[in-house]
Every structure is written in structure tokens, then in C-alpha cells.
Symmetry: C2
Subunit: 446 residues, 2 copies
């Protein structure tokens, strides 16, 4: 085994090799750290990384395994954590100078779950300012003159750049799906409430989701399986039956899946090469894909999303507004100002529309479709680092709390990656992974 | 058995006599209808009552029993339903000319639960306008020159006046506890989310509760036991373990309960005779009652309650505002106007305070107290029918979602009833009933 290439191993393969004693966690983490040294000056995916602390975790993992005690599914495997999840052993700065040097004494629930599964928390990845629109320092690993997308910029770039096989992000608008598309990795925003958010920066109870990044679908399912659980400290978390995500994702669908190709009302805003790529994909799927126009509610949904996000964000960042608004970006300041003006009745009315919206989609899936197939973004990663790109192609699915997955299947005329977004019904996360696997295999067989 | 007095039977006794074939449901319902004929011209508790329809239900109940099929715990027992719960077989007018003649094709969840338990839905009881502050036509059965309280005016008066042994009301501010106190019956506002609200007029998801009225504690427990359950159509409903409320309520507490006598910040607003009655009660309880001053949060809670109630009510009555505001009472119009002005950030901030408030009370109960003992209202039912009285002594417990119980233990200098409000921790409903039984026995033994 060539130890210098270990950082490109999938998490599933790496966990298996560690379990079998073929490689050690220290060897894997050393390879990832070497990759970080080699590339991160250019990509800047990490906000905090202490190599010694990462290696100490890896050594502890190796010692544990050698002691013969049972090990978890991610034993010894490094994971990157977006810098909006609290970690007891690393600072959590939320991408803002207002929180510079902020430390907490507890792990976020998902971080604790990862540690329980045996993972090595490699470091904290760059987030945009308070997971909003003002960019961090990260660049796209495929071309450093382009944005990696955001707000989970560092997590997407670190996974795409081979610095870590798995990473956590978040999504309140399009913060997981968009950077996954731009960086050419798998990104998953699961069903709302499926993964507990305790210890994650709270912008919007209604819209905040934990996001997942990996380079393979199998890895995404493996990661998801560690993170699903009930935590009473997240008011939207519920006790649920345990679903074997990896097993379901690996299965062949009983019938070839049926896709609803949704161009969205913003199809005109999609780049010509991306429109062409989607048309080719739909043609390739033949009768397994039908173009579907969404009704009026979907058009209004962007406005409901804006109202809810701005009002809840303004309430949740109330202290930052009161004590440090001069140190917020002009974009965030403007967003908070708008949020502070939203009347409660408008907010409540927007909130009240969500169940019917989700219900309408549930019927669509129950009747005919396995997944919606739709752009993750209007094209490949835009040039420049001033913007993280347009999240509008993600917001409808975020608002409805439905699982969304970016599948790295295509590329633009400029050679940069272009993701296909698949969306399933609420609580259909496992089936969505299975459908995505079918699609990826179908495209590969082309 | 004197058939002319059956209407004063408790629901528990009546259900037992029907089960044993000593009386029929028709006899019981006829007695209640006779009582209504005799007194309701004066009290005006009912908004809708079709004697033939009530008797038809009773006849069906008797036939069912005679067929030998299993019967429910309320088989053949009449219940009054506040006119804000949808009933498939009777109009539901919500106390407003805007909804005059409104009918629905479905029963509210609680109405369906009552029918499943075998109850006869006797009729719909008077509510104030949209369960708010503008009075309905009902008078206090103890003195028709006095208000029965509100908004569950008819339900409290019908139970107090012997027209029906059980009735459903609601509470968003003090709409169950206050009329129960004024009318001298037991009133229970259970833990938030314990009883599903689907099919009940929605004013405020955060604050709306189903309320219960009965003339005995045993009946209250019997009624509660029929209504606890999970309904996914109420977003605050949860699956829960089945608790045998009647059994727990009938038990002797393992130790004599400990009461926290909370005078509230509004003690100065309590009538002199009521203050004296509470002081005597506390003295009678000796070391089992300790005066407790609540901290600052309790003082602010009235304002949080107002913000949440006004904003949510304005959103939920948006259509009535748009299409018929001229036909709303000036008081409700003013409330909706205020509600429409509430900024979402203030609303969200108020909402965010509730968990800590409830947590603080939970600790208090865990450490030392079985129940809080506090006024249900500033005194007995005020003279006049222009106001339903002051709900402020109930709002804190409503906001915190804690179970509250009005126990008809005292009377004022004018001879009118005066309730003692007992409050327990969330999900401590069964224990609260048991504590109330202990207290009632202790006072009776005086």
C-alpha cells in the first residue's frame, strides 16, 4: 500500500483498512495532514487545524483498537467540521471577528456522535461570516480563482481537495448543495430535524440543517448513519426508527426510478452550458425523466424563505447586532436590518405555508416520482471570491425540509464541476441515496 | 332512584349506573334537558342545543349497551362542548357573527375522542367572541347579575348549573381557570400539547390549550383520560405513555404534599376578602405551605404572553381581519391591530424565553414543591356582564405550558365561589390531580 496516497481513500475503505490493521489511523491522518500542508496554502479550507492534536487523537484511536475493545464505524477516520459546530477542544469562531477566539466546553451533538463513532476531528473548516453570504478565505480546489461556494466553503473544498474524506457543513439556504456542486463532491442536506443541531450556530430553527460532504455515496450514507438520532435539545428532533442508510443506499431499486425534471422558474438564469448538460441528462434518461412544472406556491416560496430566514436570523443574532454591528459585513448588517423590520404576522403566515408545500410534494412523490432532478446552482463556480454564488436553486427544498443531494455528475464548458441536485420526500433520505446511486451508475455506463 | 335529580350526578356515578343498567342514557339526558329548560333562559349557557338530536344519541347509546357490545368509560354521559370545537353534526360559530351558521363536516379530535368513549354531545356552549375578551350572553348561575368569566363561559356555567356533568373549554390566557373559579367548579388546563387541538379554533399555537370542566376531581380525571392522545395534525402533540389519570388521582400521596404559596406580583390587585381567604388557607396548611416569591422573569412573562398571543392571533384571524373587521368587537379589533404591529424579532424573542421559564419551574418542583398554590383570579366573579374578569393570574402558567387546576374550595364575602389555583410541572397532570384531592380533603376536614 502506498502510504502517500492514503488521503484519497474513501472513508468506508479507510475504516475497513484500519479495522483490519492494514493501515493505522496515524498513517491516514499523517497523509491527510501532508495533503493539507501541500495544498491548503492555496485552498485555505481550514480555519483551525492543530496537527499535533489531530495526531494525538489518531494515536489514541490506534491504541484503543490494539487493546481489542470494540470500535465504531468511523474508527480512526478524520473528519472536518465547519467552524459553526462547537468543539470542546478547538475554538469555534463562526466566521466572524466578533467570535474570534471563542471556545466552548462542550461538543455539538454531531461532533459528540462522530467521536462516539471513533472519528478523528481533524480540524475546523472555514465558514462564511455566520454561515451567511459574506465569503471566507477559501478558494475552489479545482481553480483557486473561483469561489468554492458557501457557506460551507471549507468543508466542500477540503473534501474535494483530498484533505479529509468526510466533512460537516450546514444549510439554511443553499450552503451545502451549492458548494458541493461547485467543488465536485457529494453533498447532502437531509430531512429537516433528522440530524440534531444542538451546539451548531443557530440562525433559523425553521431552516437550519446539518449538511454532509463526501467523495462517494457510500461514504455519505456511512456518515449519515452516525448522525441520525434524537436529541431533546433540538426542538425539531424526534425519536425515529433506526434506518440502515448504508444498506438501503447500496440496494438496487425495485424498479428503475422515475425522475421529475424541474427546471424551476429560474431556468432562464441557468448558464447555457448547464442548460445543455441537463437537457442531455434528461434525454439520456429517456422515459425515466419527465419535465415537471411546479405550481404557483413554488414561485412564492422564495419570498417565504426570505421572510423566515431574515426574521429568525435577526432574532438569533440579536446580541451580535446590539453589541457589534459595526464589525458585521455590510451584507449581513443589511440582512439583519431587513429582518428586524419583518412583522410577526408576515413571518407567521410564511411559516404556516410550509406544511401544505411539503404535503404537495409528498403527494407528487407518492404518486409518481422517486426524485426531483434539478440544478444545484445556475452553473459552475463563478470566477472571483467576492461572492459564493446564487443559493436560489436550493431554497425551495430547504424551506420544505426535504432531503436534497448534490451528485457530481457533470462539468461545465470551463471544465469545472457541475452538480445534479436530487430531491426526495421528507424522511425519504435513504431512498434518495439509493436513487442517486442508480443515477450515477447509469451515467457512468453511458 | 329519583329520576328528576339525575342531572346532579357526577359523570363517574352516572357512567357506572348506566353501565349497570340502573339508569338509561335517555333518562340522564332527559334530566339534563329538563334542567336546561328550567334554568338556561336565565343562565344562557348554550349556543346550540337540539334536544331531539341529544336524545337520539342517548337512545343509540342505550341500544348499543343492550346489544351487549363493549362500552366506553363515558357511555351515555352527556358532555357540553365550547362552540370553538368543530362538530360534524352541529354548527360551530366561534362566538362571532362572522361565523354565524358555520358548519363543518368533521369532528374536532377531542369531540371524536369523546364519541369514541361513548359520550353524548349534548350541545355547544357559549364562547366569548373568538374565545377572546368580548363577552357572550352567558350569566353566572350563582347570581345572574355577575359574569361567569370567560372565554369558556357557557361550559363553566352549564357544569355549575347542573345542566351537564362535563364540558370542554379552552385556555389561551385564563379562559378555563377563571370561569371555573367564578362558577365554583373544577377546571383543568392540562400540560401544553397533552390534548390535541385539531379542529379547535386556532388563536395561538404556542398558548392554546383544551380546557376541562367538572364538578368533581374524579370526573376531571375521567374526562382527561379520554382526551390524552397523539394527533399528528396538532404540531405540539407527541406520542406519550398512557397514564392512568383516575388511578393516580385517587391515590394517597406518599408524603403530605408541599405547596408553594405564590402571591404573584399582582397581590395588591387581589380583593381583601380573597387575600384573607388565602391567608387562612395557608395558615391552615401550616408547614405544608411556604410563601414563595418568583424572580424577575415571572414579572416579564405577562409581556411575553401578550406579544405572543397578539401576534399569533393576528396571524390566525388574518382572514377575519381582511374580510370582516367591521363586524369584530372594538376590543378584538384593537388587539388585532396591536398584533399586526408586533415585529417578528420581538415575537421570536418572547418565544425563546419559554423553555428557560418552564425549566426554572421544573427545578422548583423537582427540589421541593408538589404544587404552586395561587389565586385563580383577583376575587369572585365581578358584577356586570360587560367584562369576563381579569385573566392575568393565569397567564404565566399558560405561557409556561404547565398544568393548572382551579379547585372550588372557598367563597368570597358576597357568598360567590372563589377558586384556588394549583399549578404543577409540565407533564405532572396526574400528580397535580392527586395533590388537589389531598388539599380538598384537608380543607373539608377542617
Amino acid at each position: 500500500m502506498d502510504l502517500t496516497d492514503l488521503h484519497w481513500l474513501s472513508a468506508s475503505d479507510a475504516a475497513g483498512l484500519i479495522r483490519d490493521g492494514v493501515i493505522s489511523s496515524v498513517q491516514l491522518v499523517e497523509a491527510c495532514l501532508a495533503r493539507v500542508r501541500e495544498t491548503d496554502a492555496r485552498v485555505q479550507a481550514f480555519a483551525f487545524l492543530d496537527p499535533e492534536h489531530a495526531l494525538a487523537q489518531a494515536r489514541a484511536a490506534d491504541e484503543w483498537r490494539l487493546s481489542g475493545r470494540p470500535i465504531g464505524p468511523l474508527h480512526g477516520v478524520p473528519v472536518g467540521i465547519k467552524d459553526i459546530f462547537d468543539t470542546a477542544d478547538m475554538p469555534t469562531e463562526n466566521g466572524s471577528p466578533l467570535h474570534a477566539g471563542r471556545t466552548t466546553s462542550h461538543d455539538a451533538t454531531v461532533v459528540a456522535m462522530l467521536r462516539a463513532a471513533g472519528a478523528v476531528i481533524l480540524g475546523k473548516t472555514v465558514t462564511t461570516e455566520f454561515a451567511g453570504r459574506a465569503p471566507g478565505k477559501t478558494r475552489n480546489p479545482h481553480d483557486p480563482a473561483h469561489t468554492p461556494g458557501g457557506s460551507s466553503s471549507g468543508s466542500a473544498a477540503a473534501v474535494a481537495g483530498g484533505m479529509v474524506p468526510l466533512a460537516l457543513g450546514s444549510q439554511t439556504g443553499g450552503s451545502t448543495i451549492r458548494p458541493a456542486s461547485f467543488c465536485g463532491v457529494y453533498g447532502l442536506k437531509p430531512t429537516h430535524g433528522l440530524i440534531p443541531r444542538h451546539g451548531m450556530l443557530r440562525l433559523s430553527r425553521t431552516l437550519d440543517h446539518v449538511g454532509l460532504f463526501a467523495r462517494t455515496l457510500e461514504d455519505l450514507a456511512l456518515l449519515l448513519e452516525q448522525l441520525v438520532g434524537h436529541d431533546e435539545r433540538d426542538p425539531d428532533s424526534r425519536p425515529r426508527a433506526r434506518i440502515p442508510y448504508r444498506d438501503v443506499a447500496a440496494q438496487e431499486p425495485p424498479l428503475p426510478p422515475m425522475f421529475a425534471f424541474v427546471k424551476t422558474e429560474r431556468w432562464d438564469g441557468v448558464d447555457a452550458d448547464a442548460r445543455e448538460a441537463f437537457a442531455e441528462l434528461a434525454a439520456h434518461l429517456g422515459e425515466r425523466a419527465e419535465e415537471l412544472e411546479l405550481g404557483g406556491a413554488a414561485g412564492e416560496a422564495l419570498e417565504w424563505h426570505r421572510i423566515i430566514m431574515e426574521a429568525e436570523t435577526a432574532a438569533n443574532l440579536g446580541r451580535e447586532w446590539e453589541t457589534g454591528r459595526a464589525r458585521l459585513s455590510p451584507a449581513l448588517r443589511a440582512r439583519l436590518e431587513r429582518g428586524r423590520e419583518v412583522p410577526a404576522v408576515d413571518y407567521l403566515r410564511a411559516l404556516a405555508r410550509i406544511p401544505a408545500l411539503a404535503e404537495g410534494f409528498a403527494e407528487l412523490f407518492a404518486q409518481r416520482y422517486d426524485a426531483i432532478l434539478t440544478p444545484a446552482a445556475p452553473g459552475t463556480a463563478p470566477a472571483g471570491l467576492d461572492s459564493t454564488g446564487d443559493p436560489a436553486y436550493c431554497t425551495l427544498w430547504t424551506l420544505a425540509g426535504m432531503p436534497a443531494l448534490s451528485v457530481p455528475l457533470m462539468q461545465g464548458a470551463n471544465g469545472l464541476p457541475l452538480g445534479v441536485q436530487l430531491v426526495g420526500p421528507r424522511d425519504g433520505d435513504a431512498r434518495l441515496l439509493r436513487t442517486a446511486r442508480w443515477l450515477a451508475a447509469r451515467v457512468a455506463a453511458e
